[in-house]
Amino acid sequence: MRIVFKTDYMQDIRPWKDGYQLGLYLLLLGLAVAAPWLIDTFYLGELTNVLIWALAGLGLMVLTGHTGQASLGHAAFLALGCYANIILIEAGVPFLAAFPLAGLITGVIGALIAVPALRLHGIYLAIFTLALSILVDDIIVLTEPWSGGVSGKFAPPINLLGLEIDRWGTPDAFYWLVLGVVVIVTLGYINLLRAPMGRSFIAVRDSEVSAQAMGVDVARTKTISFGLSCMVTGWAGALMGLYAGAFNNETFSVVISIELLMMIVIGGLGSIHGAFLGAIVIGFLPQFLSIAKEYAGALFGGSTVAIPGLEFGVFGMILIVFILFEPMGLYGRWLKIRTWFELFPFYRKDMFKRQKSYLKTERLR
């Protein structure tokens, strides 16, 4: 185990533990930047998709993982970001302005929605956001003059400072655009977490009463968290729209909302890594299943007909296994494996043991 002796407060404040860790992350970033030269176009497209989902995951992670407010309706904000972006571009706003604006609009609307929603606790908030997500479908149909309704909209190729970027025409450039957005958002997220606002999110998640006693305005903190979460989700939605090329009222269904929440749970709630790990699972599960099916078909001579609902079935099972046996998600599992190697042979099984807890009612009678 590498033990870092701290001799300076900055060692605590900066986001990496030591030079070794920083080096690893820089290497990872380098690989990510070089990806267009390393993998073929198909997998680059998949990787782009994973990054977009990771971005949406980061958005939801702020709210659910760090502020403790579960949302089952974030597809609504994906939709909002997506439509805002395309409508602005169609109105002649250059992409460089339209894209940030799309996120800002989504964030502001999210924060406005948060004001009544965040008085609701736990499960009630989940229901509220679920209802929002269901309503979005109908609202898109009703606002047809702007949204194109059922027939949907097509994403035009975007123009970034004279550079024409298109998902199909210039997949490399589109990938770098997505990567850039993801890196910027991740850095902002890391900064937030080491600053007072990020800590007050965690405080609200873990104990609202004592957060309040420490001078944290719970309602305001939740509203800010909701706003930030929606802003990032809006950006993810805008990129999703550009990636898909065409979308309509059914693109951002309630199933996407649920999938997004499940994704960050599988990845690991309360960690930035979790959003990325979850996105990798979501992004590559279909590929993995089709390969597994072909393999099983070859092995047992069975047919390779598509099994409807297989993806969701498997996804559900993975999630159940994780919630039951690894509530900290993939990231939690990774931490355990790493600790095992670092401490070998002194790892004890109960090192990450969960405390036994009893549920106490929140309702009084």
């Binding site: 579960a70 009544p116 929603a117 008085r119 609701l120 606790h121 736990g122 499960i123 009630y124 989940a126 229901i127 509220f128 679920l130 209802a131 929002l132 269901i134 309503l135 109908d138 609202i139 149909v141 009703l142 009463v209 309630v254 649920i258 929440l261 499940m262 749970v265 099994i307 409807p308 609902g309 297989l310 969701f312 079935g313 498997v314 996804f315 559900g316 099972m317 999630l319 159940i320 919630i323 039951l324 509530p327 036994k356 807890s357 009893y358 549920l359 106490k360 009612t361 929140e362 309702r363 009084l364 009678r365």
Partner: protein, 291 residues
């Protein structure tokens, strides 16, 4: 008379919502967990009965199949609790919610594997028969739905309010540790509740499949039933039924009198309004947490 006809058909639909909502509330009342898979359990209950009754499957007589499928669903509910939910003992509500959503995915997948994805109806002795009350013509199924739902709701209500077991169940939900100290077998009670919820889901499924067709995604109806439960106030059995009826009756009226496109919004708009203005529903129970 037209309005009355609309009202009654809405009432019958509302009863099915109410029954699913009843399942939500049962589990919530006794364990403070929210079972998002309740709608899917209803769907599964319907398919189990279809599998037992319909000619292309086992072809058992309807009245034999009904108790068997109720029993199967009760056992399934118990097993779900015993092998899945119980591992979550004492964990946060949100974790249980996500778990049950995932469970719903799995149930939908399994039902699709066994019975396929085409809509199917349950062959039953009530099909096609009518009841005439003056000028009012009611489908026999609709009447059965309404009667069964009312009996079930008030039966359960009495059970929770009057019997020792029912009171123990309530106690177990409000403070698990204290209930332990009082000698209430909290875990066994939780299992019983899930079995009960499974049985209620089976009844809802049978009634639903008798009225119309089911396919694996029918379980998503659970979301609407969920809205019903919230509108009625989570934690209250008659409230759940009332919420279901409100949503059920609202739908045909909204479809008739509100412009298309807006009408399907109505239940959810009501849900949002209730959540904003009266977050604890019509029968309020939730107050601030004590420090």
């Amino acid at each position: 008379m037209d309005i009355l006809q609309l009202f009654v058909s809405g009432l019958a639909n509302g009863c099915v919502y109410g029954l699913i909502a009843l399942g939500f509330v049962l589990i919530y009342k006794a364990t403070e967990a929210v079972n998002f898979a309740q709608g899917d359990m209803m769907m599964l209950g319907a398919f189990v009965t279809i599998g037992l009754t319909n000619a292309q499957y086992m072809g058992l007589p309807f009245w034999v199949a009904v108790p068997i499928s109720i029993a199967i669903m009760a056992v399934l509910g118990y097993l779900l609790d015993r092998f899945v939910i119980r591992l979550m003992f004492g964990q946060s509500q949100t974790a249980v919610v996500i778990l049950t959503i995932a469970l719903g995915f799995v149930l939908r997948f399994v039902a699709g594997l066994i019975w396929g994805h085409d809509p199917q109806t349950l062959s039953n002795p009530m099909a096609g028969r009518e009841v005439r009350l003056g000028e009012l013509v009611l489908g026999m199924e609709d009447v059965a739905v309404i009667v069964v739902t009312l009996l079930l709701t008030f039966g359960l209500y009495a059970f929770f309010g009057r019997t020792r077991l029912g009171l123990a169940m309530q106690g177990a939900s409000q403070n698990q540790l204290a209930a332990y100290y009082m000698g209430i077998p909290v875990k066994r009670i939780q299992g019983l509740i899930w079995a009960l919820a499974g049985a209620v889901a089976a009844v809802a499924g049978i009634l639903f499949a008798a009225k119309g067709s089911v396919d694996p995604s029918t379980g998503l109806l659970g979301i609407k039933a969920f809205a019903a439960a919230v509108i009625g106030g989570f934690g209250s059995l008659p409230g759940a039924l009332l919420g279901g009826l409100i949503v059920g009756v609202m739908e045909p009226f909204a479809a008739r009198y509100i412009a298309a496109g807006y009408s399907q919004i109505a239940p959810y708009a009501l849900l949002l309004a209730v959540l904003i203005f009266r977050p604890s529903g019509i029968f309020s129970q939730v107050r601030a947490k004590k420090v």
